[in-house]
Symmetry: C3
Subunit: 350 residues, 3 copies
């Protein structure tokens, strides 16, 4: 995070690196990002949502990153750019560089036969690397991780402590796996025979592309026969379950606690809200947005936003309304009967 004295950059220096137009004093010195609310001297904040305009008026930030529309909304030194949140992300990454891998293998780590480690790899304490596993150059394997036999991890990948990667799984470059992630556990496959479940061996792998990030305690099951696939640039939050033979298209982002059942196929550039569910064998087109807490039970062929959510109420109101749900079909029938009667009455009159 921190340690040591932070370096300062002027707003002008930052604009030279990341683009954007400097308005006001380009010589203001900056060393860290902050929220509009908490910023102080040396901090650069950002405005990406009009909702926070009141905070822009009162912020004590030394400088701010804003879009064109807010160019005149402050007198502070500012960087005006087309995508202020992305610009902010770049500035923050510049001011908060990741610690580089500290090349070396901790003395307590256990390496299997013929495991291959790329140049500059950092292997933490109590790590276990299986037979024939490969770790790409510059990758960091955190303390307590288990990388199974024959698994492969690309260059520049960060695996935080206590992650488990089962045998044979393939993970790309510049991937981030947070603590508690489990890649390649058996999918949930079994056949019922004479009152007993028979396990169906799960012989596929998990194959993960480049630039993927996977949040804490998320699980991705290995394929039953073919592989489970997570394409480039996918971002998974915490506590997500990805079933066997799922395929998640490139640059799709999925929020926490979502469950994706086996063999579901999710398109590219989808955004899926938290606590949502995708049924097995369903296919979802590219550019589909799914609201939080929504269960998708059949395929979606068109881009758009989809929702299934019972809206919350006070418990008392909910009880009265929800009770009627059990009679909704009957209610519709009664309305139909009324309509018939009334139109019959009108016909008789005319």
């Amino acid at each position: 995070m921190t340690g040591g004295k932070r370096k300062y950059y002027t707003l002008r220096q930052i604009a030279e690196r990341f683009g954007g137009e400097v308005v006001g004093d380009g010589g203001v010195r900056l060393q860290q990002v902050a929220t509009l609310e908490k910023a102080g001297p040396g901090n650069i904040a950002f405005l990406a949502n009009e909702r926070y305009l009141p905070q822009l008026k009162t912020t004590r930030a030394a400088a701010v990153i804003v879009g064109e529309a807010a160019r005149g909304a402050t007198a502070l030194p500012r960087l005006v750019c087309t995508n202020p949140y992305a610009c902010f992300a770049r500035v923050s990454a510049f001011l908060n560089p990741l610690a580089p891998a500290r090349a070396g293998i901790h003395r307590t780590a256990v390496l299997g036969k013929s495991a291959e480690l790329g140049r500059g790899v950092e292997i933490g304490a109590h790590v276990v690397i299986g037979t024939g596993a490969r770790i790409g150059a510059g990758s960091v394997i955190g303390a307590g991780c288990f990388i199974g036999n024959g698994a492969a991890i690309g260059a520049g990948t960060r695996v935080f402590p206590n992650v488990t990667v089962y045998h044979g799984c393939l993970i790309g470059q510049r991937v981030v796996l947070h603590s508690g992630v489990v890649i390649g556990a058996d999918g949930f496959g079994m056949a019922m025979e004479e009152g007993r479940w028979l396990k169906v061996p799960q012989i596929g792998r998990v194959v993960i592309g480049n630039d993927v990030e996977i949040g804490a305690n998320t699980t991705v099951d290995r394929g039953a026969m073919d592989d489970t696939l997570i394409e480039d640039g996918v971002k998974l939050d915490n506590h997500i379950q990805v079933g066997h033979n799922v395929r998640i298209g490139a640059h799709t982002a999925i929020a926490a606690c979502t469950g994706i059942s086996g063999s579901a196929i999710i398109g590219r550039y989808c955004r899926i809200g938290g606590m949502s569910g995708i049924a097995g064998h369903v296919a979802i087109a590219d550019h589909v947005d799914i609201s939080a807490h929504t269960m998708i039970t059949k395929s979606i062929h068109k881009p758009g936003t989809y929702t299934s959510l019972y809206p919350f109420e006070t418990h008392r109101e909910w009880r009265r309304n929800a009770a009627q749900l059990r009679h909704l079909h009957a209610l519709a029938e009664r309305v139909r009967a009324l309509e018939k009667k009334l139109s019959g009455a009108e016909r008789r009159k005319s």
Copy 2:
């Protein structure tokens, strides 16, 4: 998965082991299972669902396993049997045998006093086995696992890396625990007193029967006073929460991300869909199926399928319809008023 040359078997040899009637060339040589879609030479595929009949027509598998109904649906060499998916599971397990335990204790493992290890046990790197814990013959305890004081694990059980079993818990034979599983953490029990929560000690255990499989990152809490019980043959997927004093009947299967609250009792041979919830102290009969994303708030006494799910729509349609839910009780009242009026009008006319 494998490495080394795979062994070949003829379809006839497979039929001799697993039953079923050979139709066509029984001499065809097979070494691995595959899906109808991806199969090639040396592969045996299966058809258990009519939905995949078109794939049966085009598959390049060397042989297929089919049911009676599909006996004539292909010209490929085939094994005709009554339960093709179960037959396939057996064939796959035969072609993909689990690596046997490699007897021995890794030099980095830490064993408590008077821990007892059965014959042929494999203890992985960085494992910790508590005082008085027992591990049954032929079991494998993967790297980084923690088995608490006095816990016991039966013979032939596989515990994948980074599993935690708390003190005193009992796990049966031929059980599979996937990575990240936590067995025996404290249940969620506390009493409110003068604005503070007092912890209620959780002094029960978790007792797990034989042939149970538990998926990655699933948690089973220890009982408050009595034990939490998981009977023989239960299959739990990933990310499931089993609260204290729950009892899950034999051969019940539960899909991922389901939450089971304290003291719920679930029958035998139930099938519970993913992301569903079972309220505390509820009892569910044998042979109950619960749909995905369904919340069971009271006991179920009869077998059958139960569902609670707001069906998904486009967000625009959902907004219009869901808004009416807040007025559903009032709507029903209005329909009742209309019915009254109209029947009054009719009575006046007659």
Copy 3:
């Protein structure tokens, strides 16, 4: 649980320690708590809910803890008190004391430079403590835990095996973290730029107060810029996701599998049911109860109970009723049309 001979106490001795009025034989000897149903000689049970009155009639407990209302409902020796469940919690904690920390650092543990350990700290096998991390007096760090650089854990805290605490996070006194917990992983923050997600560095921390308990496999993400805050006395069950910059007020209790999105603010003394969800940036007042499986999509300003749940039915009934949901707006329109017609007809008549 225990081993060794248990010590006996008379009911009178227990009343002297914990208050309450002894009715009947105060000399009865007690050594363990039990449920009314399973209790036997030497056991003290409790009744806190009238639902279990029939069990009070048949229990074989040696003594019971009851409230005023049940004072006369049994002839057994009893402790009558105002809050029987809290009294029971205290008695159980007395009869089942936590094993004290066994001061010492396991030989396999790895300590970073300038890590500070308080007096009497127990560091388990294969633990990794980062540079500059601090562990307070009497705390226990279970086997396989990772405590990141600069993290701090207060006195008297118990961290069960295989927990991960990222760098810089602060954890209070007398906290309990169960196995699989991950504190301080990156929040889910990213900006879309030209078809690629840019990571927003997560530079805040997690700050956890005193007397907090966090269940197995729960995750609490570090803040994006400011900190994620969990105040004193909060109790989190298993499998909960706490997003970045969330703030959970003191003494709030949250049941398992709940997801709390980024920047949500939850008040004090809230009780949140299992599998519920809180949307991002929402604020919830003090003393709000949220039912299980409920999604809170906007702020709640008043205490009370709130619910959103489609009630379960047999699948057949559900299909008929849920199908009407898609036409609910239209149904309301039809009722309005009927009302208009009918009042028009009445006007014409009059």
